[in-house]
């Protein structure tokens, strides 16, 4: 079975490599620390998420990215001359990261999140490049562009870039603290958090006015991670944000789905300073003053039905108050995901179940079972509506139609 990832409206693109062998070799005394730095940055940017497929050597490519426009395959970025990036120079790599333009003038599809990577400093790019040069060259031929016509015509990307892309390195804000600036550099740049967490326009570009306010992709809703106290993570302390990114679990939530992978492969390995910086930046971010809407009234018919389903099926783990059990069963009361306008993830985990990520610090790896076989669309809609409007939560009701449609899309 091919390894695949689905990208939502997001992203559109792939790196294609071409001719002329010019290596940007880093040699001499600086090499060791430069390579170390590059390795840490590659982890920070989670390059492996797309460029390392299970069962294949690191960075040999092959992860299929499913976009609404068709499939793209992440290329081999080991220094193999024929099938990897062995013929690229540092300048070529800088152009990929900063402009989204590949060797020979190709435009990259936005699945390679160059709209974020453009903010990465040239020095950091040089370090990443130095690290990539040290990898074992692997022969693994990839055809990245598997999009159907007309999306396979890269010329269309010129227009896309005009609408969706602002080139330029990150500029620190002198009014903000060094932590905030470091956090912004990571979140907006190499960390490319917006690739999943920022809503997309019709052609897959980021809606920058709604930066990090949550988006649907791969049949998951990547929640709002702004400082919104209701829909976002405004209630989380800086330490709790750090704990989540470092271990995959805090008293509010446990990473599962695509975020579990981010924690396992990337954020658990970040330095304490970077974790802190990201927390500072997110806490100081947008929507901190947002007001919660009013919940549905308790007398609502759907609410009553949902309460009964909750008592039978959910309460054993998530407990009657929706408080859950820290590090084991996610909290439902005042949880950003539960209060999101978009219930996709909630419907998904009830129907398909989900398994938490595991880290050294939080190795339990608990699972949410699938209830697809014993809860009807109506039951799922009712129980989620109840959960979304109890214990301080407030969010639009879930319809049986939404459940039915996701149920269909989850069929193999």
């Amino acid at each position: 079975m091919p390894v695949s990832k689905r990208l939502g409206g997001a992203a559109f693109a792939a790196l294609v490599v071409a001719a002329i062998p010019v290596g940007a070799q880093v040699t001499g005394d600086a090499a060791f620390s430069q390579v170390e730095k590059g390795r840490d940055l590659a982890v920070l940017g989670d390059c492996a998420a797309c460029h390392t497929a299970p069962g294949l050597p690191p960075f040999a490519g092959g992860v299929v990215l499913q976009t609404p426009f068709g499939n793209l395959v992440a290329p081999n970025i080991t220094p193999d001359i024929e099938t990897g990036v062995g013929r690229l120079s540092l300048q070529d790599f800088q152009s990929v990261m900063s402009k989204g333009i590949g060797k020979g003038g190709y435009h990259l599809y936005g699945a390679m999140p160059f709209t974020a990577y453009t903010k990465v400093s040239a020095q950091d790019n040089a370090a990443i490049w130095a690290y990539l040069q040290t990898l074992e060259p692997v022969k693994n031929k990839i055809e990245p562009n598997q999009l159907p016509f007309p999306f396979n015509i890269r010329a269309s990307l010129i227009g896309w870039n005009l609408l969706n892309f602002t080139q330029g390195e990150f500029k620190p804000d002198p009014k903000q603290s060094p932590d905030w600036n470091r956090g912004a550099y990571i979140v907006e740049g190499l960390g490319h958090c917006g690739t999943c967490h920022t809503p997309k326009n019709l052609i897959g570009g980021d809606k920058n006015s709604q930066f990090l306010e949550g988006a649907t992709l791969q049949g998951w809703f990547a929640p709002n991670i702004t400082a919104d106290p209701h829909k976002g993570i405004g209630a989380w302390s800086e330490d709790e944000i750090v704990q989540y990114l470092k271990t995959g679990a805090n008293r509010f939530d446990i990473a599962s789905g695509p975020m579990a992978e981010v924690v396992e492969k990337s954020s658990q390995h970040w330095s304490e300073a970077d974790l802190k910086a990201v927390a500072v930046y997110l806490k100081a971010g947008r929507n901190g003053e947002a007001k919660a809407p009013a919940p549905l009234p308790a007398g609502d018919k759907l609410m009553a039905a949902g309460q009964a389903v909750f008592a039978d099926r959910c309460m054993g783990c998530h407990v009657a108050t929706g408080a859950g059990v820290p590090k084991l069963f996610p909290r439902l009361a005042q949880a950003p995901l539960v209060n999101s306008d978009d219930p996709t993830t909630l419907i998904r985990v009830v129907l398909a179940g989900s398994r938490a990520g595991t880290t050294r610090a939080a190795s339990t790896g608990p699972a949410m079972p699938s209830f697809a076989w014993n809860l009807s669309d109506q039951d799922v809609a009712a129980v989620l509506t109840y959960v979304r409007n109890s214990w301080g939560n407030a969010a639009p009701a879930v319809s049986a139609k939404d459940v039915a449609s996701l149920r269909t899309s989850l069929q193999p």
Partner: protein, 588 residues
Amino acid sequence: MATKLPSTDVVVVGLGWAGSIIANELTDQGLEVVAFERGPWRETARDFNIASAPDELRYSQRQELMLQTAQNTVTARNTPSQTALPMRSWGSFHPGNGTGGAGNHWAGITFRFQPEEFRLKSHLTEKYGAGAIPAELTLQDWGTDWSEMEPFYTAFDQLAGLSGRAGNLKGQIREGGNPFEGPRSEEYPTGPMRQPYGPTLFAQAAKDLGYKPFPVPSALISEAYTNSLGITMGPCTFCGFCTNYGCANYSKASAITTILPVLTRKSNFRAQTNSEVLRVTLDATGKRATGVVYVDTSGKEWEQPADLVIVTAFTFENVRLMLLSGVGTPYDPETQTGTTGRNYAYQTANSVQLFFDDKNFNPFIGAGALGMGIDDFNNDNFDHSGLGFFGGGSIRVTPIGAAPIGYRPTPPGTPLWGSNWKRQTVKNYLSSMSIGCEASSYTTRTNYLSLDPTYTDRLGRPLLRITFDFSQNDLKMSQYCTDKVAGIAKAMNPRQQVAHPMTGHWNTGPYQSSHVVGGFVMGADPKTSAVNKYLQSWDVPNLFVVGASAFPQNPGYNPTGTVGALAFKAADAIRRLYLKNPGPLVSA
């Protein structure tokens, strides 16, 4: 001919409680450990999720978590003069299978044995005189003592997150705990469970009679707990699907909920499932284990060489592997020589059923290890002078959850089917309860384990043969203790009470308990024990055999807490003593 694999530091046979604890300790020490498990891989997230785990037909009636008798079973008889017959379906006990072993489907009651137990023969001799011990019994000391055991009980408590209330904390007797327990160095990691109506009523009646009720110590934890390895467990929900089931709430401690998530992350650990170890291989001297031979699901045999072999299977397979591998001398009941198979014991199950008119116990609210107990008539907690027997039982009310298919509490005389049976079920389902007495089983000369001369497994290897019957000592004890239980029952004033003391001969049919112990026992004397106090084989010093197979007799307590403590004890001895100086740790 087995294909030889590259050598490893340590081989562990069986990935239940003991094997997982030891594998975790030895990988911490930096050793490379390969563990073999004859059954499948099992884990909570995949196998025991809340939407499908509470399935009585699948797990209780059809016994999905148990070893299948087609793979391996035992033969049974009461006396050496009889011919044993194979068990083709499990009844009396339930051997486990798969990662987690019997620790997946256990109930979770987790007592520590008392200080006197570890020197039982010496204790009874000192107190009552050698002549007072019935001649049929072959009681022994364990070769260890309380001060050596206590730290490892504590290690197990903190691994499993046990819930309860200390009755003896550092020598101080504490109200509400079990005053008969040995002094413990630490309080239970989690507080006692909340008690349903039946246990509450029992505790009140017992207290009024002057006894000392306490919450039954439990491996179903009462509150969220992150254990000594950093693994998180959740509070028990009293769903009643513990005994025979895997726990879906991460509440019941087992190797899969408390160890394997950490162990499997280690690069120096490998678990090989669906791989049945056939024998421990010995070198030409017979004094050194060289590894194990196992068979995979294709029927292909492999030899895994290792410097250290740790056998941590269920009691039966521990002993059978030793017999099949030629470790030690098989026990001969005629001459009472040989130690492999010696001192097999069981547990003596007694109870009194109570039928009320005016009570509602909501018996579906339950858990495998939930309830109130008294120890006033357990082991040597009461004066045995002139009673003609030794031992006793743990008396308790532990509602395990009234399962929809199996729970039919009808009074004697009720037909087994038809309208009257239905009427009696309706009448008594909510309003009846039971007081159990899980009592000791003291070893005798003729209760032992050996290879069956006739019946073999699918590979042609002899099955293990159990020769066991209840001793006269145990039957007298049962009658005495059940009378005491009946006294408490009477004080609770039911409409009707029915006593079930153990009587007659052991029968493989009805379930009694899976507390089968002994057969490769520990001790200070190689003439009467197979392993020393570190669970190290007297004959083969790089072989450790760990489990309830090491118990020289069985007190009136559930065995698992002691199995866990012994596993920590063996691992500690290997880490601290054996690796520095491989060889016998105790000179015979």
